[in-house]
Every structure is written in C-alpha cells, then in structure tokens.
Symmetry: D2
Subunit: 357 residues, 4 copies
C-alpha cells in the first residue's frame, strides 16, 4: 500500500491534469493499493493540511482538461521559510502533515520556484518526486517542460491572427509573449508565426537595430512588420545596469510592459503606427495540445514507476527523447536559458529574422 | 461587359475575401464579361486612382483567408469631405476616377463609417452596392454582419483559456472584448464562454452591483469570477455625463481602457486579485469561421446578382435568414444596438449572468 | 418546489450539456426549489426507472463539454409501442415512473424520433417540454437545431484539410457528410469548404451532370474537384424507385455508402483517381462551438421559463432570431428539408457550385 | 549565383511549403544571387522538364499553408528505372534536365520512396539535398519528420470527438489512423486521445487479448472502449505468414481495411456495437501546427546553409534537438520503426493501454 501526497504549485498550465492522471494510472495499473491525498492550492494545502482523497474517478476524463483539479497558488521560495501571519513555521507544518498522514512520498508539479521548495523538503528528509510544469520551458535538467508546446500554439495563433490584420492595414504590430525571464516561448512562437523581429531576454536589443529592420522591410515593399516580444525582453542599456540601478529605473517605469515602451520608441523613430497585443494569461489556459498530453502522460507514468521502485529525490524530465530522472539538488535554483549561439537562433537569423542585436 | 470597382474600407475582419470572391464568382459564372478594378487600401485607392486589375485567379483559394487582398484603411467620414494636404477634393477625385475608368458600379465592403461615405457617393450619382463587414455587428438594416461570428469565436476561445486558469487560481478575471460602441460581441462571447458578469455599453453598470455579484459567487463557494467587458462599457455615472463632460473626463483618464479602471475598483472593494486580458486585434484576424464563409459567400453572390440586374444603391444584408437589399440611405449613420430588453439579454439574466445593472 | 425529469435521446451531439445547464440554471436562479431527476441513456432510463439526482454541481463546467452527461440511446418510435423482451409495456412503464416520482414535467432533448415519442407521452397526459437537438437541422418548427453549427464546423475542417491535399495531388475527392435524410449539413459545409459539387438528398443527382462539372473544371485548368456528398444523397434513377423497389435494390448494395458508388462511377467515366473521406461520427463530437453554446443556453433558459410558468406540451425553438415555443403535435413526425428552390441553393449555384441536377 | 531545382514528391503533408520557404529565405538572406526552378508534381516535373521559376514572392505567406505550391505525385522507386510509355529513360531525362538547366543542386522533399530515388540521382552524380517529409515519421536517420506532429493533432482531434460520442452511447469505437507500415502516428495520437487499446504494425495483435481488454473495461464499469488502430496493424497469425501467403490472403480480403475486420470480430466476440471512423487523407491536410512550422523552417534554413557551403548528398534531419546532416546512402531504403521495447510503449502500457499483445 502506497500513500501518495500530490500538489500543483505556481502558475497553472496545460497538461497538469494529464501528468497527474499518468502518475495515478501507473500506480493503479501496477495493482498497488494506493491512496492519493490531493493537497489543495499548492504548498498552502500541505502547510495547512487542506486536502481531499482522490480516487480513479477523479482522474477520468481529465487528460484533455486545462488547469489543475487541485488548484494552485504561488508560494515564493523566500516566503516559505518565513513564518506565516500566525507565526507558524511553514516548513515544519508541511513536514508535520506529511508525517501525520504517513505519506510514502510527495508528487510535486511545478516550475522553478516550486522546485526550490521541493528540494528543501527533500533536504528535510521527505520523499519527493517532481514533474516539470511551466509554459516557460526554463527548467534546468530537462529538454522540455509540459505546457510549453500548448502555450507556443496559443501565442502562435495570436500572431497568425495579427498577421492577417497587419497585412491588411500596413502597420507595425507587437505581440507580447509570456516566458518570464527566458525566451523559449517567444522564440518558438515567433518563428512559427513568421514574426519579422524576435526580442528575447537572452539577447538584449538595440532600438536602432529594430528600426533598421523595420526600414529594411519598408524599402523592400513590405507594408507591415510583426515583432514577437518576450515579456522579459530588455534593451542593451538596461541589460548593463546593476540590479539595484535597474530596480530604481523600474520604480518610475510608466509603461504597463516593455512592449508599450518599444511601441512608443518605434512610432517616434519610424513615424509608423504601432499596435500592441498582449495575449497574457490565455497562454497558460485551454486544453493541452496532443504533444503535451503525450509528454505529460509519459512523465507521469515514469514518476509512478519511480514511486513503485521507491526512488525519491528526483525530477522526472526528458533528454534526447527519453524520459530521465534528474537529482533535485541539480535542478533547484537553475534556469535553462536560450543561448545566443544556439543553433535555433542562428537558423532563425538565416531565415532573415532580426533579434535587434 | 461590366466594369466593377471594388474596395474594402475600415478595420479589416474575417470573410472580406470570401465576400469579394462571392461577388466575382457570381459575375463570372453568369458568363458576363467583367473587369474588376481592385482599389487598394480602401477609399484612398479610389481617391488617388491606386488600383490593380483582378482576375479569377486572384480569388482562387481566398475563401478561407483572413484579412483583405485589397488592403484597407480608415478614412473617417468627416475627413472625406475635407480637402487632403494638397488641397484635393476627395469626393471629386473619387467621382473623377469612377468616370475615368468608366465603371458600372462600385462594390464597397465596410462598416458604419464606410457606409456613410458609400451613401454620399450614391447621392453624388455613383452606382454603389455595399456589403456589411464588421466584427461589431452594429450595422442597421441587417440581422448580421460578417466577421462577427468569427470574432465571437476568438473572444470565446480567450474566455475559455482564462476559465481554466481562473478555476485553478481563484481570482477575478476581466476579458475585454471588442465591439466599438455596441455590446453584441461581448454579449455573445460572454454567454458562450460562461462569463459570470457581462458589461456592455447599452446597459451602464453600477460598480456596487458588480461587487455584489462577485460576493454572491464567493459565498456560494465559487473561487473565481469572470467578467466579459465590452471595450465600450460605461458606468451609470459616466453615462449621465454630457458629451462635453465625458470628453473632459477622458482627457485625464489614467487607464489604458475601462477594464483596468474596473480592475482597480474591484480589487479595492473586494480585496481579490484581479487580472485583465485584452485579446485586442486578434479578434479581427485569422481564417473566417464556416458560418461567416457561408454568410459572406451568400451576400457576395446576391450582390453579384444585383449588379447583373443593374440594381444599385443598396446594402446587401440578411433578415430572417433570407438575403435582402436595403436602401443605402436607410443604413447610413444608424447604429444597431443591443436593447436592454432584448430577449437574449433576459435569457442571459435567467442563466444567472449579471449585467451590473 | 418543482420536480423535473430530464433525458437526452437519440444520437448525441454538441451542446446537449449546454442546453441542460441552461434549463437548470434558469430554474435555480428563479429561486425555485427544484429537484432534477436525470434519466440515464434516453427513454431507457425512464422506462426502467434508471436515474440519478442531479445538483447544481453536475452542471458546473459542462457548457463546453461535448456529449451528454446523462448518456443516450436510440429507441426508435415504432419499438416504443411494442412490449420489451420481458413483455413490459414501455409507455406504461414511463408513465408509471413519471407518476411514482411525482414529477412536474419531463424535459426531453432529442431529434425527430425523440419528438414522436415525446408527443406520445404528451398525448398520454404527461407534461413535456422538448429541446431540438440534432446535427441534421431537420426538425420542423425551428429555424435551427443545436449541434448543427458545430457539425458544420467539423465537416468544413475536414473539407479544408482535403483541399490542401487535393490541390497538391490533382484528384477527385469526395467528402461524405452526415445529415441523415436532409442536406442542410452538407450544403453549409460544402459552401464553407469551397466544394465544387454538392449532392444532397433533396436534389437527386445525375451522374452525367457530375462528370460534366468535373470535366468543365479540368478544361479550365483546375487539377482537382471536391465533392461534398450527403450520406443521404440519391441519384435521379433511385429517387424514382418505389420504397419497395429501393429497399430491394439496397439489399444487394455492395458499397459501404453512396460515396463509394459515386467514386467508382466517376473513376470509370473520367479516368481520374477518386478518394473518399468519411469523417463519420466525429461530426457529432467534441466541444460545442460558441454559436451552439449561446443558442442552446438561450433555449435551455426559455425552457426553464416555460416550466416556471407551467406551460407544457411545447418544443422550444427559434424563429427569426427569437426563441419561440411550438406545440409538440405540430412538430412530431415532420421533417424540415432543403427546398431545391431555397435562396441558399440558388446562391450556391450562382457561385458556380454544381448540384449534379 | 546559385541555380537550385526544387521538388516535392510522394503524398503531400503539412509544412512542405514552410520547409521550402526556409531554404529559399536562407539562400536569399545570404545575399546570394539565386534562381529557383520549381519542378511541378514531383519527379514527373524533373523527368519532363516541367517547371516554373520561383521568386521570393512565391514564398511569401506560405509558412502556414498546407499542401505544396509545387504539386506532388507518387513515382514509386521501382517504376523510376523503367522506361515510360514512350520508351523514355526516366533517370536519363532527369539528369538531362538537371544539366540542361545548369543546376547547382536539387532540393528534394519527400518520404521513403522519394529518398531512394534521390539517392539514385546522387549516385548518378547529381548534387542533392533532401528534407524528411512524412506524416509517418518512418524515415531512418532523423528523430522526427515534418508533417508528423500536425497529423498527430488531426488524428487526436478525431479521437477526442469520438470520445464524447463514445461516452454518451457506450459502444466500442475504432479510429483508424494513418502511418503506412509503422505505428508512430497511431501510438502518439492514441496516447494523446486517451485510447484504451492501441494497435500498431510493430506489435502484432491477438484478437483475444483485445476482447479481454474490452471485457476488463466493461467489468470496471466503463461503458465504452476506444481503439486507435494503425492502418498497417496486423494480427499475430497474419504476421507469421510469408510475404507470398499474405499477398494471397489479401487478394480475397473482403474488408475495406483492417479496422472493419476487427470491428466484425469484436462484435462477434463481445456482442457490443462497434463503429469505425477513418479520418483518412484529412490527416495530411490543413495548416501545419506551430511545432512543424518551426521544425520545417529550421530544416529548410540548414539545407540552405549546406547549399551555400556546397555540401551535397545529405538529408537534413534532427537528432537530440539539433539539426544534423545524414548521408543519403545511409537513409535510402531504411525504415524507422517503433520498437516494441521502446520506453514510450512501456510507458503507455503502464498507463493501462493495451497493445493487444
């Protein structure tokens, strides 16, 4: 008999349910007796002992369902170690609930922040298996995270829609794509959507290079230019600022996001009308795409397998198309960024896409 | 032999190409010799004699293509009667080009503003047939405009995506839907997306009623509330302002749009986290949905039929599922709004949807 | 306090859940105390007293869900009046269960066959309200049925996909569309998908006219021809057969369906390669499109309203964009067919589409 | 100055246009003077000197367009070496046209058969670069082929649609998925669509194991079972037949495809109603998914790069997420099959999916 706690933490994304279904199916099909404790709203549920027992029926029909049946919340790593408003030690409460329920292990689905806390729990002696969930694809140790490809699809749809309008009206359009501090999502959606300019955090931009690229298109007779801009895109000047200087600058930042600043600069320098579109949270919603469903199911199934074998302390990821296990201590706190020298970037440049550098 | 001028004016939308294809197919299949002069970028093309000859091949494969192969531009009615920067009288130039090319008629695809100018050209003696293009569905004299249903689909997709995130995170989400000064798009996307609160220009809202609706949901155990807010939504107080007072107020308006003001108010009054999503121009892009393709093809085909019969001065529309012709002078300058007493509004209220009134 | 029985009968389709949700929301929001008895698998559930109590929670989140949460089954009208294998009188059993549960009324969602039985139950004294569910759109008394537009979308997607292949390979492609004995679905998907030839039951075809249309396209340089063929399409010769003669013919029919017979004939007469695609049951599956969600929600809401007012014996339908009630005795047993003279058919012909007549 | 011939051969698929656009963009952006000769309808165009000159404009806007702007045809390898009906030596004609046009190289997009011919042309001394196009993903030497993921999406959509109907009606449903002689497409669509049973050519099935799996589901209370069946699925008995015996058997095969035979057997052995759906050619149609657009663009761009460097005789593929070049002689004639021991198969089994083995 296995007693498994499960929780989803951080921003939600597609295929969370598919992944959990995979874990549970693998355990149940191994004819293990298994009890699933679903902690509600991420680590909060574990801290405050807020859970519900889940049965096979809870996992039926959720392969295609977006969001998470457990709910989620953001519990930043740095606040995890601080006491809550009533003075409770959160880490101790999580350990307390883990032992009180006599759990064999915790299955934790989340992104970067989530993995830091998961690793902390491992260090504190809990058995933990994690699954790499994020539309940002920024988790170290795995080629891919689930949610990413579904988010690429939505962001690309958005660029596709803008494309027809842009072609009809002849303007500059900026589509601001999510991705937190990394450029994977923007890079892929930008190439897929046929963006002319792609700006990502890893390759700081020079506004003059952007203007040049737009002018080059105008001269060639193209009436419109589409920019796919990562929410974390940054100019060369800003990239040179110290963390403190940057914070200072952002205090008085008058734009809702970098795209609006860019829009103003481009308008000023080219005289062209610029429109900004921000698909925002839609990028993490809706039904997971088939790629993510297969991928999350495979991950979940292998996570179940690890639990059956009693191997804990790993994130289940993918490397060269094979599902792998990665020690949690290797994952926690590391970002997987786009290298400016990555072949996909060079290929995009060969296609004529400008990165503003 | 018929010589037909054609142009698309105003914001682009889905099925413009499908409609033009319909007109041309109907003319060509009637074995009429026909020459199509496609004026580029809306009325501008007619004013400055900027056109290209179109053949059957130009209309092949465009049934499913978004945007407009002719390009478009916004030429507000009030500027049409003013001379351009070189002192040219725009109306005279349009007449001049019409007669110079010896056209039998103009086929004009556009929305409200476009129809005012089209009617002016009719009054000036030109033969005009128009087609009702707008995602706003605000054209008087027709039950439906093409582009509308495709835009409903995109806005609904957006609400669907937000739904999974909202359900996972438990917040208030606002999706701002296009529609200019009318609520058709928001009303339909809101019902289709399962929004809890729908705000449209025709039913000014009371912020306290909105807060009540959110609180009622919280009390019933619903962790999230989704608002579909028309870009033209207006509060009861603002609706009472004179046009001048309102303009004065908007001068110092600090929000990018009404949704952001609402978000702030809701946050303040409920303490809940509020997120705003603005799908924006994506709502007018992408491939037309099958409904719009059929509808635009029918309209185009009947417009071709009118031209074959030499009946001019009409907008081709739909009434009770039959394609009809409506005198241009009846259409121009009139808005079709959502009546607060419309049965669809009452039905939405029976479903438990609040309109904040 | 209202006690409502509910069942879905016949082939399933999109928006059944949306419609039921509408009914229940309208009743619950009217602050009526209401008990919902969901009979499982159509009339079978009512006959054998197989039901489960439904609460608001059962209707949460099902607006976008395909299929029916109650299950369905086909119970042909002619078998309803026959005793079952154990000698039970089915009609009496249904009445028995209705009275035993002390129901105020039955809400029945279904198509043509379903409505005959519903009307029989009305004649037997039960309170009945029905909702027009079918992808065929063949119900008399309503402009539209829910499921139809969603099925049009799927069939059109299918033609769209075939279009790219057809254009690449230069063959004749047949897409067989559902619709039972009427042509609505094929007609709309055919126009939306840009089919060159549309064959529907209401307009019997002449194979030679089809071959002519294909040859005409070849001569004009078109390398491919796409036919949208209704599953009920029929040749002029077959249409002249008596019911008995036709039955006799079909006994030895060697093709899986009419499309395969057509394919063989076209291949023989034109020498061209012909491919058949049969999307089949996919046309009734998947999430309802926004149009159907709005429409089904409106119908459900007005059905709830009728129940609140105690008005029974009606199908809730739509006429000229307004929701209406139609006496069940007027609906039962009548088909709504495509008139060969309908303006939409004439418009399709003006577009150059051949109906093989 | 480079003179490049280009052709697409075999069954069409998604992202052919995206890949060609990639090649041309890479060449043009390298500021090379380049002439593109697009041979029409595959090798036929090269044999008969049927081509058209392509400019940048031909590649504008085709990133998202399905099919191939060059047309395609199937020219089986074994017929390539036979003279045509007029006695022409096809290989010599291709060489003749290559040299007559003074080409620097041929870019050939195709699947297995195409690669055999491409390799032959290489052996004959022509400069050849190929791109791996097929929805079957069966090309040796590359982890992935373009078209595959788009086809997975369509097949999965189909299973999704069937899922709602199956759940409503409680039957056995078979969805027959393409893939030629390999199971990649069925395996992925089956997992993504939540199929209960997946049958692929690489794992011959035992009908009794299938029946067992269906019965096991029935006993657990599941009212339906969905099978994803590869068009090349084969029973254990048939797999044991010699090639000659199998051919003999298929001569008198009375079913349109294996799914219909299975349907009859399952019906006979379980008594349950079985429905077959064959999405067929739709799986190779429609707009490429974002994954395929990015992948094909990357491949095209690297193919352009090889041409610029004058490196010929390679297929451009992907290995461990990096674009690679594979000698054509290593690729030609080899199939990449699903290993029954592959981890993805084991993971699917852990999820409870039966492979009928």
């Amino acid at each position: 008999m296995k007693r498994i706690g499960m929780l989803t933490s951080g921003g939600d994304c597609q295929a969370l349910n598919a992944a959990m279904r995979g874990v549970v199916k693998a355990l149940v099909n191994a004819a293990e007796e298994v009890e699933i404790y679903g902690f509600l709203e991420g680590y909060k549920g574990l801290i405050y002992g807020n859970y519900r027992m889940l049965t096979g029926a809870d996992f039926s029909g959720i392969l295609t369902k977006g969001g998470t049946i457990l709910g989620s919340s953001r519990t930043p790593f740095k606040t995890i170690q601080e006491p809550d408003e009533n003075g409770l030690n959160k880490v101790e409460e999580m350990k307390h609930n883990y032992y009180k329920l006599n759990l064999n292990c915790l299955v934790i689905l989340g992104g970067n922040g989530t993995h830091k806390t998961a690793n902390l729990l491992r260090e504190e002696g809990l058995n933990v298996v994690t699954l790499p969930k994020t539309i940002d694809n920024d988790l170290w140790g795995t080629d891919m995270t689930f949610g990413f490809q579904s988010a690429v699809n939505i962001a690309t749809d958005c660029i596709d829609c803008i494309h027809t309008t842009a072609a009809s009206h002849g303007r500059v359009f900026i589509v601001e794509v999510m991705g937190h501090k990394v450029g994977w999502l923007t890079l892929n959606a930008g190439i897929a959507g046929g963006a002319d300019i792609i700006l990502i955090p890893e390759i700081p931009y020079d506004i003059d290079k952007i203007v040049e690229a737009i002018d080059r298109r105008s001269k060639r007779g193209s009436k419109f230019t589409i920019l796919a801009v990562a929410e974390g895109a940054i100019s060369k000047q800003d990239a040179k600022l110290s963390k403190k200087e940057y914070k200072e600058k952002m205090k008085n930042y008058k734009y809702p996001s970098v795209s609006y600043e860019l829009a103003e600069q481009i308008k000023e320098k080219t005289g062209q009308d610029v429109r900004v579109t921000v698909p925002g949270h839609t990028q993490r919603g809706g039904s997971p795409c088939p790629y993510d469903r297969v991928f999350a199911s495979r991950l979940g199934s292998e996570a179940g397998n690890l639990i059956l074998k009693g191997e804990y302390g790993f994130m289940v990821g993918i490397k060269n198309r094979e599902i792998i296990k990665v020690p949690l201590e290797d994952v926690a706190g590391k970002l997987k960024m786009v290298s400016p020298d990555a072949s996909i970037v060079q290929e995009a440049k060969m296609l004529g896409i400008s990165f503003g550098d």
